[in-house]
């Protein structure tokens, strides 16, 4: 249908529309008009992606000079591919309606592992191997060597691309990962480099968060993206953690040992090269004096993403003389390594700030701040000069160099924690140095500053106001949308007690309590008897799940559950879990029914949807608080309190609730779907917890479903499921939760739609 969103003609590729989609588009348009940032929460499974795409594409067509590019960031590879498929659907609709061929170029970008077509390289299993192998075939000096030595293997796909690929732009169209590969094969071009090159002039780019947020990657990939772009972060409820992860470094003793070996290799290589080709090192020395200055010229034009690892002011200078020659630098790295090793030889926990660390390193081994800052850059240059091919082997030393650069660059927002052992196993020495970022705004700041509109959206962003605070930006719109329903297809229930009236909770004091564990088991057992097809249960942590499963096994609860359904359990091993997941879906598919026991914050809870019969009930056992004894977390909480005036408890609850909401939200997609959402912890009944759930879930929690016993839960669930099993036709929805074009034109409907969005 064709919509009129405040004067903008929007093509929407469906015959019907949900009212909240209309409302969402309105808000989005306002944000784009204002050229500002927005935070939008829309219930999961109400067609967020297609609304976003429809509006932004329409906007792009209407004002090609205002918005030149859409950068759509999502979390996982399947999600990226889904977005591109939805886009394809939209463009097909455009082609059908307007009759003109599509002039848009849209493409997905992913790592080499997902895009490589080289027969040998693509058969490698791990991303790192693929990258390393690719590098060994495409590095500039390898290609240079090829001129003198034709037997040197190179990648023909890359050569072809390098020779021809840049001259003619890729024809307009929608390119998913597989399409890129097919195109690459047809032309004989490398799809990965083709995609990386093409994102510069593509109208729509779909890729992972890291390509924009991680400074190390963003600098390579997204450096030249136009300023007049709209950036969308979908599923952004975890964006702060992504930011923090991209700036944090963990060093173990193993890393240090392997770095030591790296340094040895470097030294030997230098020695060898010196004997053969001393000019090469001289050349590098000369280049270092000039090289960075050249980079500086390029950087001044401001359109580049500023790289937090190398802030602008340092680039005025050349690499300090103390590490300019290769031998000196290797010696410098040795000293640094020795120092780090000595720091790891401790008996007690140490926590310090970056300046403290720098002071200490200066006093102990006389390493200055300045050469430290150049560490990463200098190592890169050295590795290139030495023509190291298997670059993957040098990742430990690279990690050290990044640590050095980061620690010497940032004096605020970071902390260093050295733990001699893990808390669980105090007898086994396993020292770790955590250099952890506590301020997510550092990594995302350049994005907000550079692009004209950044949209942060997800199904679960409540409470909305906390995101602008921790990410430190000022949005022009902040809205939360409800879900209009013709029938209440979600049924959140809070179970607070067992049938024996013992309160159930995953609270630390009672979590090992026999009665609590038994009641949790009974809840699952009872539900396994009444819920059709699939049930997904989430635990607060993996260890907790292990313990509970073990005691359920001893008590024979699992056996009784097995009478009703098959049981599959998430394990720390991703491959094993994938298999379990597939079998789980198979069991749901063939009518046997199954239960998946999983972990909140785990891979399953973040990446897998349990729509329709794959998840008729989601049970959240306990409140998924983070492990609060973690020192990193404590440091971060402290920082949040000092810098952003966010109370510790507020943040912890917020974090727990967003994960709980994320878990239960996985079960609903569209309004024909339905599912139970069972919160099995009495603490959910409290206002401070409940209030932090997304509005579209909160609305359906009545006072009657606050502190239920297991029996009551079963009764309510039975009632709900019986109702949901009735046929549900389009006519039931029309006008209420589903609109036709005609209905959209009536004044009354528009008034109702206006109430869907709640401004914060």
């Amino acid at each position: 249908m064709k919509l009129n969103i405040e004067g903008l003609l929007v093509y929407f590729p469906y015959d019907y529309i949900y009212p909240e989609q209309y409302s969402y588009m309105q808000e989005l348009k306002r944000t784009l008009d204002a050229k500002g940032h927005g935070v939008l929460e829309m219930p999961s499974g109400t067609g967020k992606t297609i609304s976003l795409l429809s509006l932004i594409v329409a906007y792009q067509r209407a004002y090609p000079l205002e918005v030149t590019k859409l950068i759509y960031c999502s979390r996982t590879v399947p999600e990226i591919e889904k977005v591109v498929e939805e886009l394809r659907k939209l463009m097909e609709f455009y082609a059908k309606e307007t009759g003109e061929t599509n002039k848009l170029l849209a493409l997905a970008l992913s790592s080499r592992k997902n895009l490589c077509v080289h027969p040998e390289v693509s058969s490698l299993r791990f991303g790192k191997e693929v990258d390393g192998k690719c590098h060994s075939l495409t590095a500039s000096y390898i290609r240079a060597q090829r001129h003198s030595n034709p037997s040197q293997p190179i990648c023909h796909f890359f050569e072809e691309f390098d020779a021809l690929g840049r001259q003619v732009p890729i024809p307009p169209g929608i390119y998913n990962l597989d399409d890129l590969k097919a195109f690459g094969r047809r032309k004989g071009w490398c799809p990965y480099y083709l995609a990386r090159y093409s994102i510069l002039h593509a109208n729509i780019v779909v890729y992972s968060y890291h390509y924009l947020l991680d400074p190390k990657i963003a600098d390579l990939v997204s450096k030249e993206l136009a300023k007049k772009s709209v950036v969308v972060f979908d599923e952004a409820h975890n964006i702060d953690n992504v930011c923090i992860d991209s700036m944090s470094v963990n060093l173990t003793r193993r890393t240090l040992d392997r770095s030591q070996a790296n340094v040895e290799t470097l030294q030997n290589t230098i020695q060898r090269i010196k004997e053969i080709d001393a000019a090469k090192l001289k050349e590098e020395y000369r280049r270092l004096v000039e090289g960075l200055k050249e980079a500086n010229v390029a950087r001044e034009t401001d359109i580049y993403l500023s790289n937090p690892v190398l802030p602008d002011e340092i680039l005025q200078e050349a690499v300090p003389g103390s590490i300019r020659t290769a031998e000196h630098f290797v010696g410098f790295m040795k000293r640094l390594l020795e120092y780090l090793k000595s720091r790891l030889r401790i008996q007690h926990v140490v926590q310090e700030s970056s300046p403290q660390f720098l002071k200490d390193i200066y006093e102990k081994v006389c390493i200055d701040r300045k050469p430290l800052r150049f560490c990463a850059e200098r190592l890169r240059s050295l590795l290139r000069t030495l023509e190291i091919t298997d670059i993957a082997d040098f990742s430990p030393i690279t990690l050290i160099s990044h640590f050095a650069t980061l620690v010497s660059t940032y004096s605020k927002g970071f902390t260093i924690i050295i733990e001699p052992f893990e808390d669980k196993t105090p007898t086994i020495a396993n020292p770790v140095l955590h250099f952890s970022c506590m301020d997510p705004s550092i990594a995302i700041k350049p994005v907000f500053e550079r692009f004209q509109s950044v949209i942060i959206t997800s199904g679960t962003l409540s409470p909305l106001d906390i995101y602008p605070r921790i990410l430190d930006f000022r949005p022009v719109t902040m809205s939360s949308f409800t879900m209009t329903l013709a029938r209440t297809c979600l049924c959140p229930l809070i179970v607070g007690r067992g049938n024996d009236q013992v309160a159930i909770s995953s609270k630390f004091e009672t979590r090992e309590d026999f009665a609590v564990i038994r009641n949790y088991g009974n809840l699952l057992l009872e539900l396994s008897g009444i819920v059709p097809d699939g049930i997904v249960a989430f635990f607060t942590s993996y260890i907790y799940m292990e313990n509970i499963v073990a005691s359920w096994y001893e008590q024979g609860i699992l056996e009784n559950i097995q009478r009703n359904k098959l049981i599959f359990i998430e394990t720390p091993d991703a491959a094993e879990t994938s298999m379990a997941l597939e079998k789980y879906q198979e069991a749901c598919e063939n009518g046997r029914g199954a239960i998946l026991l999983s972990v909140a914050r785990g891979k399953v809870s973040e990446g897998i949807d349990f729509v329709h019969h794959y998840g008729r009930a989601v049970i959240m056992f306990g409140v998924p608080y983070v492990y609060t004894q973690s020192r990193i977390l404590k440091a971060r909480l402290e920082y949040l309190r000092d810098q952003f005036q966010i109370r510790e408890n507020d943040f912890l609850t917020f974090d727990a609730m967003r994960h709980a909401a994320q878990c239960v939200g996985r079960a609903i997609r569209g309004k024909t779907d339905y599912g139970l959402m069972i919160f099995a912890d009495k603490r959910y009944a409290r206002a401070d917890k409940r209030g932090k759930l997304p509005r579209w879930i909160q609305e359906h929690i009545s006072d009657g479903s606050l502190n239920l016993t297991i029996d009551e839960t079963v009764q309510l669930s039975k009632h709900f499921l019986r109702q949901m099993a009735q046929p549900f036709r389009r006519e039931d929805q029309l006008g209420l939760s589903l609109l036709t074009l005609d209905q959209l034109q009536s004044e009354e409907t528009l008034q109702r739609i206006a109430q869907i969005a709640q401004q914060v």
Partner: protein
């Protein structure tokens, strides 16, 4: 009443039943008991009727065996031989154990099959009512050659659904304490079958070890003692029979994991697009090893946490979890295994294709489908067209080519017919009677009789006769009321069925067929007496003008004649 033909598999003397001494016979198809000194069985049960057997516990003074029938009744035998009571009982038990499952399955399957056939075929049902319910022939006779006929047909066309395995079958084996510090497990053949189907490794062990190394009982005792059954126990000794099974399972699990998943949307390994291992376009590199998950499981659980760090308890916990996944997967697989020879083939071919170097060439179809599924909103879309039911064709070539005459070469084309008509016309036109060679009138009429139905030359083919019967009905439908018509039809089908049985006995070359043909003849007579005569009388009372049953009687008479001829021949041969 002991039929001499039955093979006796086991005879146990001194078995008491209802406080009477006697002898227990286990025969090929039934178990029987007769009191001492008498030549008849007072108790006789077909194996198919027995639901299960129960035995008295080992320590008890009375050594007994109880049979529970499907009807709910039970019979208890007391083994009273002082010296060998236990051995006798066990021998009987073991034999029964082997025999019962065979009959059980057969009985159930047959019953189901019969039921289904009757439900699907109303004509057959009517026939069944006419013949079996009114006790013209027995049910066995009725089914005797029908089942074999149909089972071939149906087993190929209907893929019967296998009954799956309950996930909790191991839990159903509830150990009971026997009072003196021991546990007792009750195993039924169902449970054993479940174990075998779910864990092929155990089945293999069983085949290897029982009975030459271990008795069955020992085998299962060891099974229940092994860590294998108790999933939380960590493997300790190598002498454990089942440690190998566990290893095999481990391997199976690994290979299952190694195969990866077909649905890319659930593949957690390729889920994340951590492109952290980026390499610069120009060739300079940064490959950091950032593996932090600050808010991961617990705190940044490093993958380097080796197993040595884990306590025994944690290890056993993770073993339980692994086992549950494996168990569920195996149960699921056992349920599906039989079902999809076709799918298997498909997946096999695709997997072999997939192994060829460029695996992703073959990936897209399933991926595309899954992606499309994932982005679809069924309620936003206008429904396109009605959902159609797929056509299930037994023989697709017949569907596409239409019915083809089986013997085309015997059919004459219309051109042939026209030609022959022309020929005949031509002949007729030139016909000149040759009065010297005319047939006598008696000979002519006998030729006509021989050529009419029932005549010497038209004897073969009851089918034709039935057609004629119907024909006669359709000729004067006005004269005969419809209920008589339908009754006549039933009589025809019933008679046809009986006659089919009868004629199928010829040539009579086995004693069994001899017996059957005699029986069939009496059946036919009984049919004539109980069915045909009353009908005849009824018809005669109302419509004496027409003889509706004449043809039926003719057919019966032919059969009697044939029987008579056969019998006299046989008598002659005997004397």
């Amino acid at each position: 009443m002991a039929a001499s033909s039955e093979e006796v598999l086991l005879v146990v003397k001194k078995v008491r039943q209802k406080k009477q001494d006697g002898t227990l016979y286990l025969m090929a198809e039934r178990i029987a008991w007769g009191p001492e000194g008498k030549d008849r069985f007072t108790v006789s049960h077909l194996y198919a009727d027995i639901r299960c057997q129960k035995i008295s516990p080992d320590g008890k003074a009375k050594i007994q065996l109880q049979l529970v029938l499907h009807t709910g009744e039970s019979t208890t035998f007391h083994f009273a031989n002082e010296n060998s009571a236990l051995r006798d009982r066990d021998a009987a038990k073991d034999l029964l154990q082997q025999l019962l499952p065979k009959f059980k399955k057969k009985a159930n399957k047959e019953l189901e099959e019969k039921n289904r056939m009757l439900q699907e075929d109303p004509v057959l049902f009517q026939l069944y009512k006419d013949l079996v319910v009114s006790q013209v022939i027995s049910a066995e006779e009725f089914w005797a050659n029908r089942l074999s006929m149909n089972s071939v047909n149906h087993s190929t066309s209907n893929n019967k659904q296998e009954v799956g395995i309950s996930a909790a079958f191991l839990a159903d084996i509830r150990p009971q304490t026997d009072g003196c510090n021991g546990l007792r497990y009750n195993l039924t053949s169902d449970i054993i079958e479940s174990i075998f189907r779910t864990y092929p490794a155990v089945k293999q062990k069983y085949a290897e070890n029982v009975p030459h190394n271990l008795t069955e009982k020992e085998f299962w005792t060891r099974f229940f003692q092994s860590h294998y059954f108790h999933r939380d126990r960590i493997s300790t000794g190598l002498q454990d029979l089942f440690s190998e099974c566990a290893k095999q399972d481990e391997k199976g699990l690994k290979s299952m994991v190694g195969q990866g998943v077909k649905n890319p949307l659930v593949d957690l390994q390729s889920l994340e697009d951590k492109a952290l291992d980026e390499v610069n376009l120009a060739g300079t590199d940064t490959i950091p090893l950032y593996k932090t998950r600050v808010f991961g499981y617990g705190t940044a659980a490093t993958p380097s946490t080796s197993n040595s760090n884990r306590t025994v308890k944690e290890n056993s916990n993770s073993a339980i979890i692994k086992r549950f996944n494996h168990h569920s997967a195996m149960v699921l697989a056992a349920g599906l295994r039989k079902q999809d020879p076709l799918n298997d083939q498909a997946s096999e071919t695709s997997s072999t294709d997939g192994n060829s170097r460029d695996s992703d060439l073959f990936q897209p179809p399933i991926k595309k489908v899954k992606l499309q599924e994932a982005i679809e909103y069924e309620d936003l879309q206008q429904e396109d067209g009605l959902k159609t039911v797929s056509l299930n064709l037994k023989k697709s070539d017949r569907y596409s080519h239409g019915p083809v005459p089986i013997q085309t070469q015997h059919y004459t084309t219309s051109q042939d017919i026209i030609n022959s008509v022309i020929l005949v016309q031509h002949e007729m036109a030139n016909y000149k009677p040759c009065l010297t060679q005319v047939m006598s009138s008696t000979m002519a009429s006998s030729a006509i009789v021989a050529l009419s139905p029932g005549g010497v030359l038209m004897q073969a083919g009851t089918q034709q006769a039935i057609n004629r019967g119907y024909l006669s009905l359709s000729l004067h439908p006005k004269m005969v009321p419809s209920e008589v018509q339908s009754e006549l039809k039933h009589l025809y089908t019933a008679a046809g069925e009986l006659l089919r049985h009868f004629w199928s006995c010829f040539p009579v070359n086995t004693p069994f067929l001899e017996e059957k043909v005699v029986k069939m003849r009496s059946n036919l007579e009984r049919f004539q007496l109980t069915k045909l005569h009353p009908f005849q009388e009824k018809v005669q009372r109302q419509y004496f003008s027409t003889n509706l049953t004449g043809h039926l009687e003719e057919m019966l008479q032919t059969a009697y004649n044939k029987f008579h001829a056969w019998q006299t021949r046989r008598m002659m041969r005997k004397t």
